[in-house]
């Protein structure tokens, strides 16, 4: 069984030049950076806030904050990692505003009962994503990831969806590397567990229909 192949990211060799030009007042260079990362920023924002309007606000606020603070970007990390840190902070602020009754923190190391011990070990159908229509699949994936605590969800999205390295994720979230690894393992296992009921094989060779989803 092989390892996960990382997403091929776009070359970033000219990124520093764009940042330098933007710092020197070239608004067009900053616009190129917006074009390069707006899709990622929107995706991260929507995963964290779980709300379309909030995600739109986060995209605007994060890029404006980045623009206003370009002078503070020293180039020690990638621009994208620096930007992600801003995006995560803005998105968490939105989430806290919307759910003031719940503490929302990346530091929380949520311990749910035996969440790391797999209970569901039935094998999945081959090509499980083809068992559902595109919109059913999107619904299943969205609802499943939304059930994770924000601290797990954010680590999973940055590492496994956006393809940041463990070190970059730690830097963007202000977490230690062991904390990122621990949250990532538990996020992956919890998602796997929850997806199993939609994707597992039936003993008679058919497919178990996922929970209450299609009722």
């Amino acid at each position: 069984m092989g390892t996960i192949q990382p997403k091929v990211s776009e070359p970033v060799s000219d990124e520093l030049a764009l940042v330098q030009a933007a710092k020197a007042g070239d608004v067009g260079a900053f616009e190129d950076l917006v074009r390069r990362y707006d899709r990622n920023v929107f995706r991260i924002a929507q995963h964290i806030t779980q709300n379309r309007e909030d995600a739109e606000d986060v995209v605007q606020d994060a890029f404006l904050k980045a623009y206003g603070n370009l002078a503070q970007f020293q180039g020690q990390s990638k621009f994208y990692t620096w930007l992600v840190r801003i995006v995560v902070n803005e998105a968490l602020m939105k989430l806290r505003r919307r759910r003031p009754e719940r503490m929302v923190s990346l530091d929380e190391d949520v311990k749910t009962e035996d969440d790391s011990v797999p209970r569901e070990v039935a094998d999945w159908a081959p090509n499980p994503e083809q068992l559902y229509t595109q919109s059913e699949l999107h619904d299943i994936l969205t609802r499943t990831i939304q059930g994770l605590p924000p601290s797990f969800r954010t680590v999973f999205v940055l590492r496994d969806v956006e393809g940041l390295s463990t070190e970059e994720t730690a830097e963007a979230l202000g977490l230690s590397i062991p904390a990122v690894k621990s949250r990532l393992l538990r996020a992956r296992l919890q998602l796997r567990e929850r997806l199993s009921r939609f994707f597992q094989k039936r003993k008679n060779g058919g497919v178990l229909n996922g929970g209450d989803h299609n009722q």
Partner: protein
């Protein structure tokens, strides 16, 4: 290697960052422990499905609208800075 040891190394294994010896021990465990094999295989599929899912794609019209709003505020900021 016990199943719990395997689980602790699962993320490192999937990310391909294990040393050769631990990787070999883990693959030896996978060869005979069907449960761990299934957990490993379905965790890998979970990651791949999410990575390829294109959840929350930014629609092109919204993308243009957001970029226009962002750039207009950036230009305004720049004008304020150069006039002060």
């Amino acid at each position: 290697m016990k199943c719990s040891d395997f689980l602790n190394e699962l993320t490192n294994y999937l990310d391909g960052v294990l040393d050769a010896r631990t990787k070999a021990e883990l693959e030896d465990h996978l060869a005979w422990c069907h449960n761990c094999y299934v957990v490993c295989d379905t965790t890998k599929k979970t990651i791949e499905i999410y990575r390829d899912s294109e959840l929350y794609e930014l629609p092109e019209d919204l993308r243009t609208r957001l970029r226009t709003a962002i750039m207009s505020k950036c230009k305004q900021k720049k004008a304020e800075q150069s006039s002060s």
